[in-house]
């Protein structure tokens, strides 16, 4: 299945989706309100059948001065068509709620926990949204662009522990 067919099939159902092609990879941008429906459609549609969630991550566009500030990035794969699709969803700084994909994929559980602790997205509907790699008392979101490489961070946490 080529990109044109995928685009056509998605546009029939979700006309607001914007597509982008770079280096022979297809990305779809969806607004936050439709994200869960869109993912459900991608997963369950008989033609597209993107039934495999490869990755969830975030990007902070603070230094590129773009609105909204964050992107949640999903990578999907379809066993049936052997094709990948990247789904991006903009998240503004003042509203970090993102619908959780845990009802659709078990893989979303840890990946969303990691995205939460690194960027601070609040995945609504996640059964167990705790920090995963960092200590529970850790303050701040390390992969945000305003979090420095050194300095703030660990030192404050250690003081708190005392």
């Amino acid at each position: 299945m080529d990109f044109e067919t995928i685009k056509k099939r998605i546009s029939e159902k979700f006309p607001s989706v914007e597509f982008e092609e770079f280096r022979n990879q297809l990305s779809a941008r969806i607004n936050k309100a439709d994200l869960l429906d869109f993912m459900k459609f991608l997963k369950e549609d008989k033609d597209l059948h993107f039934d495999y969630l490869t990755d969830i991550t975030g990007v902070d566009y603070l230094k590129m001065e773009r609105e909204p500030r964050f992107d949640v990035v999903y990578h999907l794969y379809s066993f049936k068509n052997n094709v990948r699709l990247r789904v991006k969803c903009g998240v503004p700084e003042d509203d970090l709620d993102v619908p959780s994909l845990t009802p659709l994929w078990g893989a979303a559980n840890w990946l969303e926990r990691e995205a939460f602790e690194m960027f601070g997205f609040n995945f609504v509907g996640h059964p167990d949204l705790r920090r995963l790699l960092l200590p529970d008392v850790f303050d701040g979101f390390p992969l945000r662009k305003d979090y420095p490489l050194r300095g703030r961070g660990e030192r404050d946490v250690i003081l708190d522990l005392k």
């Binding site: 490869t54 902070d60 994929w105 078990g106 840890w110 979090y147 490489l149």
Partner: protein, 398 residues
């Protein structure tokens, strides 16, 4: 007289497994909820080796980050080097010379063998079969000597560069690989003899850590775990990179979904890796190993000393704050590392450093369904399942 009751009353108990435990091969901690000896719930606590490689990727140039990729899965560092270099090369849009492709393929497969040797040795050791460990580690030792000969280091290889390799392989590389190909089948035979139809091994691994096909897809597992659950997905076949589309090899699949089937898949992968190395070695072409445009790769030393262009390119590549710029955009490139799909998602803002560097580690996703696999099994099986996943803590936590 009342009949005595033989039912043993058991209590719910919490057992802390790790963070330091010989069977975890790294710092992992699992909190097990037990009922007698049966696992009711397993909650992995990870992050003891978190080193912030993704954050560091935003502060290091692309070539500098290669040294960090060694430290992720330190048993298959060459596979990480290759995966990262492939991703950046595709983002720039350059194609490396044929010889570099062949060498990368050979080394990727030899790394797979080395990684699987550590896996089979320690996995068997955890379950109680000591002898297999000795055979496996002897083979690994030969491979590590080979890597040392090629890259100068055994574990932290850092062999690839963006656009090619650190240097060409030494003259006797082909002979060494050929010698290994002649030596290795015997090791494999010994391992099969020690384990495959071994009654204790089969009892300990069959039906343990079951993961159904649906669960495997739903949980996003990759590599031998996914193929051990009956899904024939391999990045080398589904999205061929390097020279994999020209080679003749098979993707082993086993339907049972237990520890034993993952064992069988990995053992068969060793044979396929040998086939790949053999074919690649046969047509290994001559020529340069670095991309011709020295904007991206270091020029040869003669050019640096004798020509002004070479000197400029050399300094541009080496000096801090310089280096090549990468076009603006984002890309996701996956390669098949020994543990599964190793993906790199790179966002570039057009400078010489990545704006965002995301590593999709196979161990992390494979480990996330650990609870599903061990629930209802015995405590001793936890170690068997852990061994079958081949979790590497450095890659898990990054």
């Amino acid at each position: 007289m009342a009949q005595p009751s033989y039912e043993i009353k058991t209590d719910q108990m919490i057992l802390n497994f790790g963070p330091q435990h010989p069977a975890t091969h790294g710092t992992l901690r699992i909190v097990l909820e037990l009922d007698g000896e049966v696992v009711k719930k397993a909650e992995p606590h990870i992050g003891y080796l978190h080193s912030g490689f993704e954050k560091l990727g935003e502060y290091k140039t692309y070539n500098q980050w290669i040294t960090l990729s060694d430290r992720m899965n330190y048993l298959s560092s060459l596979a990480n080097n290759i995966g990262f270099a492939e991703a950046v090369e595709q983002l720039i849009g350059i194609e490396i010379p044929e010889r570099a492709k062949y060498i990368r393929t050979i080394l990727a497969e030899l790394t797979r063998i080395a990684d699987h040797m550590v896996w089979v040795g320690t996995h068997a050791l955890d379950i109680g079969a000591f002898t297999a460990f000795l055979y496996a580690f002897e083979a690994r030792e030969h491979l590590y000597n080979l890597f040392e000969h090629v890259c100068g280091a055994r574990l932290t290889t850092s062999y690839t560069r963006i656009g090619g390799l650190m240097r060409d392989v030494p003259e006797d590389f082909e002979d060494m690989v050929k010698w290994f190909l002649g030596y290795f089948p015997n090791t494999l035979k010994e391992l099969h003899g020690l384990l495959t139809r071994n009654r204790i091994w089969m009892d300990r691994t069959r039906g343990v850590g079951y993961l159904s096909r649906e669960d495997a897809i739903n949980c996003g597992v990759t590599g031998p775990v996914l193929r051990g659950s009956g899904v024939a997905y391999d990045v080398r076949r589904n999205f061929p990179y390097l020279i994999y589309d020209r080679l003749d090899f098979e993707i082993p699949v086993c339907d049972d979904g237990d520890v034993y089937s993952r064992y069988l898949v990995r053992m068969e992968e060793l044979v396929q890796s040998m086939r790949i190395v053999e074919q690649a070695l046969k047509d290994l072409p001559d020529g340069p190993v670095n991309y011709f445009d020295h904007k991206y790769t270091l020029p040869e030393k003669e050019k640096v000393y004798d020509t002004i262009e070479g000197l400029i390119h050399h300094f541009k590549n080496i000096m801090p704050g310089h280096g090549f710029n990468v076009p603006e955009g984002d890309i996701y490139v996956a390669t098949e590392a020994p543990n599964g799909e190793l993906g790199f998602y790179i966002v570039s803002d057009g400078t010489n450093k990545a704006y965002r560097l995301r590593v999709r580690p196979p161990s992390f996703v494979n480990y996330s369904c650990f609870d599903k696999m061990v629930r209802g099994n015995l405590v001793a099986d936890v170690v068997a399942v852990l061994g079958s996943l081949n979790i590497i803590a450095g890659e898990l936590d990054r």
